[in-house]
Symmetry: C2
Subunit: 460 residues, 2 copies
């Protein structure tokens, strides 16, 4: 029973303050100067995290929900007053402030590439500026978690994966979003019960070592658990000795059979998964228990899953936590939110290695005759690139959602579709080829014009 | 105006579900089997993250607040019922469930080392088991963030550091806890306004590139900002060209002087900080602006701060975001929550490389005559080690707080005190010596007795 109301990470009246102070001081200055022109901002990733050849857009719908709710409650206004930084009339303005801008964004679950705007905000400069911190905060890490999870799904080649990361993520909000992001990316289940409830994700779980150690013997623990859950027992084998435990599991499975039940599986949580899974598979098969599945968990990521499956380890299902739940090799990325036009004038920054593409943009996706993605073109939002599909869609108009958020099932399908259309060279786990992304002639011309103008101004 | 009521990450009635499903299925089995004995769990870190020689306990007070509030609201019970996993009488039990266990824990901000329990939970087995996920979730990442931040503070050798991480952390909750953890660790300020309000941390901020690009010229932007904030302006120099911008800042600073104000600082956000800070310092000093401070931000961590200061770069203040706000080189750690006794019987697991120390424990800290920390002894909770100070304190008794949470200022003082007493060899940024932690004779004897008994049982 998923709930369709947005799950805001904070009360609406506190979202306004979940921002960097400079967003508010800049807003105060704009307010005092009477600067209220329309600005456009592009949010994009400058560089791929290690070994990534694509990114999975996630958290976009949360960002839009936050923008729709963004406001300053009385405590927030009083706190700002207490800092003595702001003027009384600006605080009155904030008291009634709502985000009135518009948002074009990639739909939840869309694949995207470096330099492509995953989200663009257009609106009065104060609104567009105040959107920055919360939008970056929501989209960046969820995109990293969805991307890392999608890589695991590819590595597992059809074997189901469950999210076990709740204890390792950076807080409860992150744990819930990890469950959501990984499900969108193709995981089959989560151990996180609150996330399962919120998003309608299948909940899953086995047993902990503490369960085994709380009984006088391992087999007593196995018997008690399978008595309670005769149709969904996965027994944990590595509390004392995995092979001994496998023999105990066989005994219990045979006892269950005589009661008309079947042991669902056994779990390996430490040691050499390749060797242990083969030994345990042999023990189970020899006992006629070929239906009992082997689950592996503990320190897994896409590289380790790939290594195990490539090597032929008879593992049927994976539980991933630590390394995926924090996107361990890329816990942050170079995602930025840059002003690209102000008051009808395209702008860019020239900081060394951090140049921006000016103006509001669109991403145009081209496919070959077989339906495989062949190239993207970043063009102006006002352009029309023939035989290509615009990827950014209108998500919010004048402060209100233009479309409902994606159902989680739709976002999940979008990832699966995208990956099935992305050529393998860009999906390789290591050193993938960069997907071809070009700049349209119009955008390229505009960029060199502005660069020329800025450089002339600097040297004049 | 910090608020003293706990800031729970979730509504109290949802904290019960922020758990791994297996905690609930194990609880269901215990409930059905009538297993209600008292269990003790130790939470500790098995291995240091890279280059760490100490850990800073953080999130402990949040964990205790969560345990005090932990409950299952009606929606949670109904969700659990819908899964068809649980019995009706167990769901009734959960409806009235409150955590009734006790907690001994390191005080917020205490230093600790591998294998030492940072927190121990004792209570009826269902309660002690249901505590696991939320306690791990809250303490692990905050400890990592506080530890990483403390390393930055050491590297900065007295220069102030501000938390700029809000856009990079894994969600809003993580951003707020990053601000708190880094302030405890010795940062001077945060850009995160909501965190500043909640915890009474000084808020800070400068301006963004977008501010500069929204004006017709850089100097127009600098003038507008300093007009608005004549006593707290930090001008961002790298939008187009840092050296050009430094000359513009000089001009504006002189204009401010003639109005009786002083420019607070300038900020470098890209390029070679060592070279640029020297050039900018010379430009400022030559113009008689020796009071204008230089702030550096962008990709900084303890290693980079150390390199800059060791090299003599004239940087007065650092803003850190990305790498520290996700503890980039150690976004998770090997923190575990293991059952150590059940029903008066000490227990341990033997999994390869993952052995636990049995029984409820205490950490005894020894100091040399100069007050420097010399060694820790992990002993039984019932032991008394002479001339040593027990570090774990009673935080919660029978489900209620035994002491109020630490004031943030006290936690901050605790980190400063701890670090001042920790010999330099363990505070080195790279490859620090391991602080000597030994096991008491009583604990050691108990461990070998249990290991012998378990091994005998396995081989019999």
């Amino acid at each position: 029973m998923p709930n369709d109301t947005p799950f805001l990470p904070l009360p609406a009246g506190e979202i306004g303050l979940l921002t960097d102070l400079y967003e508010l001081t800049m807003a105060q200055s704009y307010f005092a100067e009477g600067i209220h022109g329309e600005a456009a901002f592009s949010m994009y990733v400058r560089e791929y995290p290690p070994d990534r050849g694509y990114l999975v857009a996630a958290g976009v719908d949360d960002a839009v929900d936050c923008l729709e709710a963004l406001s300053f409650d009385t405590d927030s206004i009083e706190y700002l007053r207490s800092t003595s930084i702001f003027t009384a009339d600006f605080l009155e303005y904030l008291r009634d402030f709502r985000f009135t801008g518009s948002v074009r964004a990639m739909p939840e679950g869309a694949l995207f590439f470096t330099h492509e705007p995953v989200l663009e905000v257009t609106g009065p400069i104060i609104a567009a500026q105040l959107a920055e911190t919360i939008v970056m905060n929501q989209v960046q890490y969820q995109t990293l978690l969805a991307t890392k999870s999608a890589r695991c799904v590819q590595a597992a080649r059809g074997r189901p994966i469950a999210d076990f990361a709740a204890r390792r993520t950076h807080g409860t909000e992150a744990s819930i979003k990890m469950a959501r992001s990984s499900y969108i990316a193709g995981f089959g289940a989560t151990s996180n019960v609150l996330a399962a409830r919120r998003y309608g994700i299948p909940p899953t779980g086995t047993m902990a070592h503490s369960y085994v150690t709380s009984f006088d013997s391992e087999i007593a623990a196995f018997r008690a658990y399978s008595r309670m859950f005769p149709d969904r027992s996965i027994l944990l084998l590595d509390t004392y000795d995995t092979i001994n435990a496998a023999h105990a599991a066989v005994k219990v499975a045979h006892e269950m059979e005589s009661d008309g039940h079947r042991l669902t599986g056994v779990r390996l949580d430490s040691g050499d998964f390749d060797a242990l899974s083969r030994q345990v598979r042999r023990i189970l098969d020899y006992a006629g228990l070929d239906y009992v599945r082997i689950v592996a968990s503990g320190g897994l990521d896409e590289y380790e899953i790939d290594r195990l499956i490539t090597g032929g380890a008879p593992i049927d299902m994976f539980g991933v936590g630590t390394r995926v739940g924090v996107s361990a090799d890329a816990p942050s990325c170079d995602m930025v939110y840059k002003m690209v036009s102000y008051d009808g004038r395209p702008v860019m920054k020239l900081s060394e290695g951090k140049e921006t593409l000016p103006a509001a943009k669109q991403v145009f996706r081209q496919h070959d005759p077989e339906g495989m993605m062949s190239a993207d073109v970043i063009g102006l939002a006002t352009e029309d690139v023939p035989d290509a599909e615009p990827v950014l869609i209108q998500a919010m108009t004048d402060g209100r959602r233009a479309i409902p958020p994606s159902a989680i099932a739709d976002a999940r399908q979008r990832v699966a579709d995208g990956l099935s259309r992305l050529p393998q060279a860009h999906r390789r786990l290591r050193q993938p080829d960069h997907f071809p992304v070009s700049i349209s002639a119009e955008l390229s011309l505009l960029e060199s014009q502005i660069r020329g103008r800025l450089t002339a101004a600097l040297t004049s």
